[in-house]
């Protein structure tokens, strides 16, 4: 058996990054139908939409007994209007996963998720996010944009028919759903696509250019009534000083350039040039930092005290045995 040496891996990595392959792919989503030609084109900044909503989710593992885990998730919503954000932090959702507990959880998730679906933190967080998106669509005024952190392709356990229904409701309400992905798995020839596009755009359009380009269309099964082709995936650099371009998902029938120009209108925050400002607020709001996890655990322990769970039972269930071993 050949040795998997670092040198060999590095050599292969170099080939992939510089090999110049043209085949487009997305390892996490095989439903994408890629554009035949991808070439960045200039993007002009337009006025930001009057009303923008942003959604992001957060998660934390509060206690881990390996076979059983206590997890918390939440989705934060932000309404940006007249230069100010109204924040909705989102209620913390605590759930048990493991030892069959997830069955009851799955049955309660809604969103057409199958009761026998495998349940993990990713699904739980995604579920909270999409529930929040649904709420935004319901509350948004006509002409509003609802921004989602990530792509518009929910977790595979959320049926596409549910997303289709949401897109229909959004279209009917005159609301545009937009997904912005900071870390995309889109690839070309085995190398990250967005990095390549950033270099190409800089060469073709100049270092301080704003640009966009269609990349793919996806999921014909979520066709929006009245035309379109599911969801369109584009890449865009939304500010002349943006360090990175992002993957942006839009409804298939949306005027991508128009939506992106408007999106660029609120991506001029000096702290995060090129990233829509409301999403940065939602990101901060949804985060589940260490102190929040600690507070959740304190609350659980308080309950343990009240119902009389012995301390050594808790200790043996949730102690980090790696830590104990390393201590000696």
């Amino acid at each position: 058996m050949a040795t998997a040496s670092l040198a060999v891996a590095a050599e292969r990595l170099a080939v992939l990054l510089t090999g110049g392959g043209r085949a487009l792919s997305d390892p996490t989503n095989t439903d994408l139908v890629f554009e035949a030609a991808i070439a960045p084109r200039p993007l002009a900044r337009a006025a930001a939409p009057d009303e923008v909503w942003a959604v992001d989710g957060g998660q934390a593992l509060v206690a881990d007994a390996r076979c059983l885990q206590l997890v918390v998730t939440r989705a934060a919503r932000v309404r940006f209007r007249d230069g100010e954000c109204v924040e909705y932090e989102g209620e913390l959702q605590a759930r048990l996963v493991g030892c069959g507990e997830e069955r009851a959880v799955a049955a309660d998730l809604g969103l057409d998720i199958r009761p026998d679906a495998a349940v993990d933190l990713n699904l739980l967080r995604d579920r909270e996010e999409w529930v929040a998106v649904e709420q935004c669509v319901a509350e948004a005024e006509r002409g509003a944009v609802v921004l989602v952190d990530g792509d518009l392709v929910p977790d595979w356990r959320i049926p596409s028919r549910w997303l289709k229904g949401l897109l229909e409701r959004a279209a009917a309400a005159g609301v545009t759903l937009v997904g912005v992905t900071k870390r995309s798995s889109l690839a070309r020839g085995g190398a990250p696509l967005l990095g390549q596009l950033e270099l190409e755009a800089e060469a073709a359009l100049g270092p301080r250019s704003m640009w966009w380009t269609p990349v793919a269309r996806t999921r014909p099964d979520v066709d929006v009534p009245g035309g379109g082709a599911g969801i369109q995936v584009v890449a865009a650099r939304l500010d002349p000083d943006a360090r990175f371009a992002f993957r942006v998902d839009l409804p298939g029938d949306a005027d991508a350039e128009q939506v992106l120009s408007a999106l660029a209108g609120l991506s001029d925050d000096a702290a995060f040039p090129g990233y829509p400002y409301p999403l940065t607020v939602a990101d901060r709001l949804a985060a589940c930092p260490g102190w929040l996890r600690d507070e959740a655990w304190l609350e659980v322990e308080g309950h343990f005290d009240r119902v009389g769970v012995p301390y050594d039972v808790r200790e043996r269930a949730f102690a980090d045995r790696h830590g104990l071993m390393e201590r000696f």
């Binding site: 000083d241 609120l266 925050d269 702290a271 901060r284």
Partner: protein
């Protein structure tokens, strides 16, 4: 009540509060944290102000500044903005807790407890400073200052604290002379309770102090030069001592021995003090004098140095051979009457100025200590006297602390005799630390040198350890008053002398004296 911020952290002695990004906070500003739970009002002094941000990512603020700077460089101002700056950024003020007012507002206590977290921080109200009123004494020097704001509340020191020594420290142009004159004005108005002996080497006070409405009765000026409205400054040789010489001049050990030899030699003639200097200065044949009169016990070159100095001293216009024309007694009389005695020694050299100051200081100390020891009831009625020394480091530095030097003696012993020093210097770091610790009142004006601030920190009677930046940024006329009477170093804006003169009411008319009934004395 407008909120200036919310308290969120630190400990009993320190506080940290958050304020809006545009809240104008100043070093030295006094603010109040209102503890709704206990009803106490905690008084805080800002010692530092920094930026804060909701964003926890490292380098967030630098990144924002970089983006905006790049826009500036391109001439593209406004290309980026900071959305919701008021929400995302803020200011953090670090404060020293000065103490708290009890809920009834009557008592101010040193901090020993924490105000409730997130208490509202507000601007102080006049009532918050009411407790200071009884501690500000009867020698006003200015108004309370909170940061850049001058509060309508007069601050000062008790005149009695002149006996426990006062230090005025500032670099050039920060307002030492103005403060000195304001203090002198306060002494003039104190109805004789205090006396001030002010030795003025630069002649800067004479015309200014004379403008004070009470100067006619309360200011007496002696001058070494012939100047209008002044008495002539004359110091009798017979009243000077070898110790005065040793204080004023730098003598080597052999030179000091020579002085003692000469004093011993001439004392046989019965002369007083340094009256022998006159005769010695006329000696023409120094080698012969040395061999015959001093039996060669003094080296000739040493004797020549002493001789040169003797001639210089006896030729000084302010030195008189006749002890009867000396001003010593007159100065003592003026001080007993609680006057400001200005000794204008402009025109004299620095050493001669110290010679005069040493002489007068010794006279005052001797007189007041004698009264204390022998006539307590007389001493009781004597006013507290302060002797003002400009460039005090010349006589109060560590290497000047000799037994012969009267000034350290005053610093150590003067308090019980009601005689104090008022040391004025630009370089407190040159003062002897042990002597400085005897000073109970500091007026600290702008000081740029860290070493100066350090020595004051270690000697101040109030904790000023966190006030370095504030002292560094004091503007002319702004000062901190640290003494035992106020519970903290009080920030003040010193009155302008011209304003003091303008606002001062005329002195009360002299009490009418009933003419003596001569007829009753005649049988």
């Amino acid at each position: 009540m407008e909120s200036r911020g919310r308290l969120f952290g630190k400990n009993v002695l320190e506080g940290v509060f958050r304020a809006g990004p545009d809240e104008d906070l100043f070093l030295g500003e006094l603010l109040v944290a209102v503890d709704e739970a206990t009803g106490r009002r905690y008084l805080f002094r800002i010692v530092d102000v920094t930026y804060g941000s909701e964003h926890r990512e490292p380098g967030w603020a630098e990144r924002v500044a970089g983006t905006l700077l790049a826009d500036d460089d391109r001439g593209d101002d406004g290309a980026h903005r900071l959305y919701e700056q008021a929400r995302r950024t803020y200011r953090v003020a670090t404060c020293r807790c000065l103490g708290y007012l009890t809920p009834d507002g009557l008592e101010f206590r040193k901090p020993k407890s924490l105000p409730t977290q997130f208490s509202r921080v507000v601007a102080p109200e006049p009532a918050d400073f009411a407790f200071l009123r009884t501690r500000m004494g009867d020698l006003p020097i200015g108004n309370l200052r909170s940061g850049e704001t001058v509060v309508d509340f007069e601050v000062g020191i008790p005149g009695d604290s002149l006996a426990t020594h006062v230090g005025i420290f500032a670099t050039t142009g920060m307002g030492k002379s103005n403060l000195m004159m304001v203090l002198a004005g306060g002494v003039m108005r104190a109805q004789g309770r205090y006396g001030l002996l002010l030795v003025d080497p630069h002649g800067e006070y004479r015309t200014q102090l004379a403008r004070h409405p009470w100067a006619a009765g309360r200011l007496r000026t002696y001058s070494a030069r012939a100047l209008p409205n002044t008495s002539t400054l004359r110091v009798g040789l017979g009243e000077l001592t070898v110790d005065d010489l040793r204080t004023a001049y730098d003598w080597s050990r052999p030179q000091e021995e020579a002085l003692f030899e000469l004093e011993r030699h001439y004392s046989r003639g019965g002369g007083e003090g340094l009256s022998w200097l006159l005769e010695f200065s006329t000696v023409e044949d120094l080698p012969g004098f040395r061999d015959v009169e001093l039996s060669s016990r003094v080296a000739l070159n040493t004797l020549q140095v002493v001789h040169r100095r003797a001639r210089r001293i006896v030729e000084l216009p302010c030195v008189a051979a006749d002890a009867h024309v000396s001003v010593g007694s007159a100065v003592l009389r003026d001080l007993r009457e609680g006057k400001v005695v200005l000794i204008d020694v402009s025109g004299l050299g620095s050493t001669e100025e110290v010679l005069v100051a040493s002489f007068l200081t010794r006279k005052v100390l001797d007189e007041w200590s004698a009264a204390y020891l022998d006539q307590p009831e007389v001493h009781e009625r004597l006013p507290v006297v302060a002797i003002v020394l400009e460039e005090a480091q010349r006589v109060l530095s560590a290497n000047k602390d000799k037994e012969s030097n009267v000034f350290p003696r005053v610093a150590r012993e003067g308090r019980k005799f009601k005689v104090g020093l008022c040391a004025v210097t630009q370089q407190p770091k040159l003062l002897d630390g042990e002597l400085l610790s005897q000073f109970n009142t500091f007026f600290i004006l702008g000081l740029a040198d860290e070493k100066d601030r350090t020595i004051l920190r270690s000697s101040s009677k109030q904790d000023i350890s966190a006030l370095g930046p504030e002292i560094q940024t004091l503007m002319p006329g702004e000062c901190l008053v640290a003494n035992l009477h106020a519970p903290f170093a009080v920030p003040a804006k010193v009155h302008l002398w011209s304003q003091v003169v303008r606002d001062c009411p005329p002195p009360p008319a002299p009490r009418p004296v009933v003419p003596p009934n001569v007829a009753a004395l005649v049988d």
